[in-house]
């Protein structure tokens, strides 16, 4: 847990110049937003309700953690946990299938020849196309998780295949002359060589995973989730809470990829790459 805190800290540790520019950029954005809301309200625009003031959104954000919803009694942290659960499920399953499949398809022409056509059939289909089917068949927890799985699966698969194919042949030669049998070549050369590629696949996959989860959860009728929360609040016209939910997704996405980048960087350092 402590190391996780360290990772998050590392992810947001920036130098002063960056920090200053970041604050400035944020200030410009919030001011523009504030002025746009003023403008809409001053003109008694019908759109004013859809663009709440930044202050209102901030308030709603804090309140979403504190006041349970009238309908289901859930607070934001419940929704975060629900979304994380689905992401985690989809991620673990994607990892445990894509890694062995990628290693096989990268190593054996036969495996690639058999696997690639199937992969090429499913790859162009946006994961979101499966939402209706998966929600009906798998329900509101596993259904979105399955969508996330599809989003994460392909980046990991393709990166692992790429990693295996890029293994420097001279390292295989070196390992052979040091007495390696096939098993050693795989465990001691191919696997470590592929690890950074796998990390890239994970990072890209998690980013896509967050995109998928929001859409999949929105269609859900219960079981919580930040996507569900956004949809639920828009149904009753609480636009400040809708924006709070959107902000939450952004924060979670940034944190996830930030942590993944940190893990990647540490892994590279530990493995002596770069």
């Amino acid at each position: 847990m402590l190391s996780l805190v360290k990772l998050v800290k590392g992810a947001i540790a920036l130098n002063w110049r960056q920090l200053l520019l970041g604050a400035l950029s944020l200030a410009i954005f919030v001011s523009a937003w504030q002025m746009y809301s003023w403008y809409l309200n001053a003109n008694v625009s019908g759109y004013a309700a859809y663009v709440p003031y930044p202050g209102e959104v901030a308030e709603a954000f804090v309140d979403s953690f504190v006041t349970p919803a009238g309908t289901d009694g859930l607070v934001m942290s419940d929704h975060i946990i629900a979304s994380l659960k689905r992401i985690f499920m989809g991620f673990v399953i994607a990892l445990s299938i894509a890694v062995p499949a990628g290693l096989l398809m990268g190593s054996y022409i036969t495996a690639e020849g058999l696997g690639m056509p199937i992969v090429e059939i499913f790859r162009p289909i946006p994961p979101l196309a499966w939402i209706p089917l998966f929600l009906v068949v798998l329900g509101y927890l596993k259904g979105p998780a399955a969508i996330v799985f599809l989003g994460i699966f392909f980046p990991i698969l393709f990166n692992v295949i790429l990693g295996v194919k890029r293994v420097d042949p001279i390292l295989i030669d070196a390992a052979k002359t040091l007495g390696s049998k096939k098993r050693h070549l795989f465990l001691k050369v191919v696997l470590p060589y592929t690890t950074p590629y796998l990390m890239t696949g994970i990072k890209v996959g998690l980013g896509i995973g967050w995109m998928c989860i929001v859409a999949a959860e929105m269609v859900g009728k219960y079981g919580g989730g930040v996507g569900f929360y956004i949809w639920d609040r828009s149904d009753i016209g609480q636009w400040d809470y809708v924006f709070a939910g959107i902000a939450m997704i952004a924060i979670l996405g940034i944190l996830t990829t930030g942590v993944a980048s940190q893990v990647e960087r540490r892994l590279y350092a530990w493995m002596g790459m770069k």
Partner: protein, 270 residues
């Protein structure tokens, strides 16, 4: 061979590379014996098949004909009785210096404390104390090749096969590494088959220099270097042997050049 036992025996090696449109005969009737504990340099114009010879002995390349035995045993694929040092170093980037050197020992399932004792010995031998935990990308070229040599030696091979191991180094480092290699050789008494295209390097290092013909490669002439070590590059004996080797080589370089020019003109016409 000074009455030494034969350690590497290559008999009538033939190697044909089959490409889509043509066949390249890289080696033909290549025969050579290397004695136990001997230091032999293979010298020849680029593309004459030096690397191919070494890779066949290492078991990394199949042969199209002929026979290779190492310590009396016929070569069947790569094996840890033949250590190889590569021009590209071929270190495992994710392993530290120590872990690179211990690779072969891990494969052999030597227990960790024994591995460490062995790797420490070879770290000392190649003068890499203090760099045990460095990764290859933190090392200079010369240091990388020290690791490459230590890694090959840690497996206690009968022979050491070196393919232009200092080719990627600058001249100063190269000269230093040549001296270091001779020191290591006299400490370990391994049989060394060393590929180079530098005449100077061959005369500085070798017991015998094997000059190869242009492709298809075979032995053109074997020139013994009977100078005591350490050798002085400026001595008249050194210079005279150098001249002799250069003369043998020049003819082959000319052949290679001629062929490259005709190859180019054929391609030009096509």
């Amino acid at each position: 061979m000074d009455g030494h036992e034969v350690d590497i025996r290559m008999e009538a090696l033939l190697k044909v590379f089959k490409e889509e449109t043509r066949e390249i005969v890289a080696l033909k009737e290549f025969s050579l014996d290397v004695g136990d504990g001997e230091f032999v340099c293979l010298l020849g114009p680029s593309g004459c098949g030096k690397t191919t010879v070494l890779r066949i002995v290492a078991g990394l390349e199949t042969k199209s004909g002929g026979r290779v035995t190492v310590s009396g045993v016929e070569v069947e694929g790569a094996g840890s009785n033949r250590g190889v040092v590569f021009q590209e170093f071929a270190l495992f980037p994710w392993r530290t210096v120590r872990k690179n050197i211990e690779f072969g020992l891990e494969v052999k399932k030597i227990p960790p404390h024994e591995r460490e004792a062995v790797s420490s010995t070879f770290i000392d031998l190649v003068n890499l104390e203090g760099f045990e935990n460095a990764h290859p990308h933190q090392l200079s070229g010369g240091m990388k090749q020290r690791v490459g040599i230590a890694r090959a030696l840690a497996n206690d091979p009968a022979v050491l096969l070196m393919d232009e191991p200092f080719g990627a180094l600058d001249a100063q480092t190269r000269n230093l590494m040549q001296k270091e290699l001779l020191r290591i050789w006299s400490a370990t008494r391994k049989t060394i088959l060393f590929v180079t295209h530098s005449v100077d390097e061959a005369v500085f290092l070798a017991d015998r220099i094997v000059v190869m013909t242009a492709r298809p490669g075979k032995v053109k002439r074997i020139i013994p270097v009977a100078l005591p070590r350490p050798r002085e590059r400026t001595s008249s004996e050194f210079i005279s042997i150098r001249g002799e080797v250069l003369e043998e080589l020049d003819a082959e370089f000319a052949k290679t050049m001629m062929r490259e020019m005709t190859d180019a003109s054929v391609q030009h016409k096509a």
